[in-house]
């Protein structure tokens, strides 16, 4: 038990995107006591985000990175937060997440998900990534699975329900995927990362 908490406290997790996935993963990892979170998003909080993202009504219009830094601090002030308000891309991801043991892919578009997973696997040896594909809609809780694809890649989701055709995102189903993702990251950090 002591080594569980100790390992988490010495771990660094990267969170790429602070939407329905990233905002909820960040809070779960902060509650678990992960030592440092590197968070990145270019956007501001919008009213329409509040149906699933871990922000508050008085934060609408403010930077997501700034708001999440504050929300994490209110949950667990011992967590170090490194915030980057910018658009993540192939040319800045290796630098921004250079010190992360594990990265949560929390993007919205399929193309961006592909880009960061490929980037981490091809160019960031030693870093693991937990990515999500298929979390739209409601119900069908048990269709959301965690699958270890390869030593450095874990995939979460049902693999099918896309926002493009489903049009519905709920705090409940996105939250299930986000908690699978946070849980997978905790497992990787505790069981597999050498500190």
């Amino acid at each position: 038990m002591a080594s569980f908490a100790l390992k988490l406290s010495k771990s660094v997790a990267g969170i790429a995107g602070l939407g329905g996935l990233g905002s909820n993963v960040a809070i779960a990892l902060a509650r678990a006591g992960v030592g440092k979170l590197i968070i990145a998003d270019f956007d501001n909080v919008e009213q329409s985000n509040l149906n699933r993202q871990h922000f508050f009504i008085d934060q609408v219009g403010k930077s997501k990175v700034e708001c999440m830094t504050e929300n994490i601090r209110r949950v667990n002030p011992r967590v170090k937060v490194e915030g980057h308000k910018l658009m993540l891309a192939a040319d800045n991801i290796p630098e921004i997440f250079a010190n992360a043991d594990c990265i949560a892919e929390c993007f919205d578009s399929a193309g961006a998900k592909q880009m960061i997973v490929e980037m981490v696997l091809a160019k960031m040896s030693g870093v693991k990534i937990v990515s999500v594909s298929g979390l739209a809609g409601y119900g069908k809780s048990n269709d959301i699975k965690t699958k270890r694809v390869s030593p450095r890649l874990v995939m979460i989701g049902d693999g099918l329900t896309a926002i493009d055709n489903c049009k519905i995102l709920t705090a409940a189903r996105v939250g299930i995927a986000a908690m699978h993702q946070a849980n997978a990251i905790i497992e990787l950090l505790v069981d597999e990362i050498q500190i």
Partner: protein, 70 residues
């Protein structure tokens, strides 16, 4: 017959029907390469190299497909 293991399942091809590259395999499966990460025998193959990466009998390929939403 040639065999390719695709996401853990064996697919058999007559030697003249065997997809020559990753791009050919994706076309055969009707998958858009812009939303796929491929690992060939455990080795990541970048999307830019899909067309240049030859497939051989007995290889194992993982195709991870991404759909939008987050």
């Amino acid at each position: 017959m040639n065999v390719l293991k695709v996401n853990g399942k064996e697919k058999t091809f007559a030697p003249d029907k065997m997809p020559a590259t990753i791009v050919d395999l994706l076309k055969l499966l009707g998958i858009d390469s812009a939303t796929v990460v491929a690992e060939l025998d455990g080795q990541i193959i970048e999307r830019a190299n899909f067309a240049a990466t030859a497939l051989k009998d007995g290889q194992s390929i993982e195709l991870v497909r991404f759909v939008g939403g987050g």
